[in-house]
């Protein structure tokens, strides 16, 4: 039997097979199915149509429902979607529902999942959202699916997958102080293009990656989909296990690469050689060095989303914003309520992040959600409603993604976004950080 990569091994185990190889179509057993307010209602209606009005989900313990997309809006259709989720959760008696307006409300699903212990090494997680690949940071197979596939899983707990070949990206050496995971992933996407990993798994490795926190590893895996990847993965280590054990008591079995596993490709970067980068409008692979576009005038800075709205991202931004003023409208949107609380408890040089942002003149969202990351209804916080030029820590800059089709979005790391907010022009964070 041939050696397997981490991704192949997890899939083999979930298909009850000793071995699987790239290109094989297999049915896998699902450990967690996650859905949210935009895709949940559609999934539920397909599930009922296919399995009957009174059908029960295959396993209540394995379905996680996290409303997060259209939350702080007056849009009535959007509220109806959350009502549909509530009704379903009640009727199915689902234990993991993080409802809006309650103590349990979390915010952006991909960040809420690990906070609540739903991401565990060695498991298979599907979610009705393309950034479900974020959870690969925990050493599991995680990928986004549509409503039809999710409805099938709800009914039978299984889904067919084509085993992806794995592309490996190795970062040698820990990151210099001005670089973040966001720079690494934008670097990769710039190299391979928005379809460079289509149907493939991306594994991140090397001491540069293993020295990163869980949140930074999540940023890497999060944007795998922007290269068309099926899943992103980081082999689990002590950092992973400690994090997961602090969130859940459920047992899990970490899976590792076989030493002689075969990769589709291997690319090695020296972390020291890399520089801060942006993705220019209108594509995540439209990479430029920050210094190449430095000075570009901006109307707005946005720090938020599952890609760039975690505590690490705000800590980084605060390091630059502390004691400074923003020159342009700067929007701060914590991904989850836990991140929101962290803004008051986390400090930089003795001052909490919230106070740093307030004094800098940034606008802070009242609640945690996806907000303007995907545009959303017209009254969404931070939405680009005109032809603004925005620099953002989010993941996508396709035309219209953050609202108006005529707006222009630059994607960058929290350091670069914060530095640019201070000057009102695209600015290399090295001007602020040594």
């Amino acid at each position: 039997m041939g050696a397997m990569t981490l991704t192949e091994k997890i899939l083999a185990r979930h298909a009850g097979r000793a071995h699987v190889g790239p290109g094989e179509n297999i049915w896998v057993n699902v450990d967690v199915l996650m859905t949210h307010d935009v895709c949940g209602p559609g999934t539920i209606s397909i599930f009922k149509k296919q399995f009957g009005e009174r059908a029960k989900v295959w396993d209540r313990e394995k379905v996680v429902v996290i409303p997060d997309h259209y939350i702080f809006t007056q849009d009535t259709h959007a509220h109806r979607n959350v009502d549909i989720l509530r009704e379903f959760v009640r009727e199915q008696e689902l234990p993991y529902f993080y409802d809006v307006g309650t103590e349990r409300y979390k915010g952006v699903c991909h960040i809420a999942l690990p906070e609540e212990g739903h991401t565990r090494p060695g498991e298979v997680l599907f979610g009705t959202d393309s950034h479900t690949c974020t959870a690969g940071a925990f050493g599991e197979f995680a990928t986004g699916i549509g409503n039809t596939d999710a409805a099938l899983i709800m009914g039978i707990g299984k889904l067919w997958v084509k085993v992806p070949p794995t592309m490996k990206f190795v970062f040698e050496g820990s990151l210099p102080p001005y670089l973040m995971a966001k720079d690494l992933i934008l670097w990769i996407i710039g190299d391979i293009g928005v379809d460079g990993a289509t149907y493939k798994a991306i594994e991140f490795a090397g001491d540069g990656v293993y020295s990163l926190s869980m949140e930074e590893r999540m940023t890497l895996c999060n944007m795998v989909i922007e290269a068309g990847g099926k899943n992103g993965v980081v082999a689990p280590d002590q950092v992973t296990e400690e994090f997961v054990r602090s969130k859940t008591r459920r047992p899990f079995e970490p899976v590792h690469n076989d030493p002689d596993a075969k990769y589709d490709s291997v690319k090695v970067y020296r972390s020291q050689d890399l520089e801060p980068v942006v993705a220019k409008p209108h594509s995540p692979d439209n990479r430029a060095l920050v210094r190449e576009v430095a000075g570009t005038a901006l109307d707005r800075a946005y720090i938020g989303s599952c890609t760039g709205g975690k505590l690490t991202d705000f800590r980084a931004s605060a390091r630059i914003l502390k004691g400074r003023q923003v020159k342009i409208d700067t929007f701060i949107v914590p991904a989850t309520t836990e991140v929101m609380k962290g803004l008051s408890t986390e400090t930089v040089d003795g001052e909490n992040l919230l106070s740093i942002f307030q004094k800098a003149g940034a606008r802070i969202s009242e609640g945690a959600s996806c907000a303007a990351c995907l545009g959303g209804p017209a009254d969404t916080f931070g939405r680009l409603n005109r032809s603004e030029v925005c620099i953002s820590t989010t993941s996508r800059n396709f035309p219209g993604r953050m609202g108006s089709r005529t707006a222009q979005v630059y994607l960058a790391s929290p350091y670069t976004v914060a530095a640019s907010a201070v000057t009102g022009r695209i600015t290399d964070p090295r001007e602020f950080i040594g």
């Binding site: 935009v38 259709h77 959202d129 039809t148 099938l152 299984k158 289509t198 068309g228 995907l374």
Partner: protein, 187 residues
């Protein structure tokens, strides 16, 4: 699955993402309500910048203002069609608008799966970049079994890639029927 798909071509470029296929602000309509469902047809492909809508000329909408059905049947795309979010609305809205096939150089994975598993239309892959060969409004005919595409406007013919494993699901109708045939859903 039909043996032949005939109709007018609607041509777009590379990397058409799901926000362009159906902008996020429209995702609030119900797909199970027959009236609201039509709105997805009305806004299908409405997120593409005007100049790039209906190539080579541009400024042609897939679905005319105020209508829910398109006069086009076959979309010609470039590379990475359907990239971006996992929203199935993107696949369904094209079906609701009356699209029966998309021919693209390549697809983003989740979109492709959604199309196949939902049985919304037939996603063909071209063997070359056809979106520069064919113009919006050309009359096309796809022979599904032979895997060929004929441009009836200028009589040119092109080969399409074989559908491969997915043909079983498309033949069954959707992934549920397929799973029933495989004995995975008991009836």
């Amino acid at each position: 699955m039909k043996d032949f798909i005939r109709g007018m071509a609607y041509v777009v470029g590379d990397n058409i993402d799901t926000d362009q296929i159906i902008p996020a602000r429209h995702l609030v309509y119900s797909l199970s309500d027959p009236e609201e469902r039509k709105l997805y047809g009305r806004y299908a492909m409405s997120g593409i910048p005007d100049g790039l809508s209906g190539l080579p000329k541009g400024n042609i909408r897939l679905v005319e203002e105020g209508k829910e059905q398109s006069s086009y049947k076959i979309i010609l795309g470039g590379k990475n069609f359907g990239c971006g979010s996992s929203r199935e609305h993107a696949a369904v809205c094209l079906q609701i608008a009356g699209i029966e096939a998309v021919v693209a150089e390549s697809y983003a994975r989740i979109f492709y799966r959604n199309v196949v598993d939902g049985g919304f239309f037939v996603p063909f892959e071209a063997t070359m970049s056809l979106n520069t060969e064919i113009a919006t409004g050309d009359e096309l005919e796809i022979n599904v079994n032979l895997g060929t595409l004929k441009n009836l406007t200028n009589r040119k013919q092109y080969g399409l890639k074989p559908l491969g494993d997915i043909i079983e699901i498309l033949r069954a109708g959707d992934v549920f029927e397929y799973a029933r045939k495989k004995g995975l859903i008991k009836r």
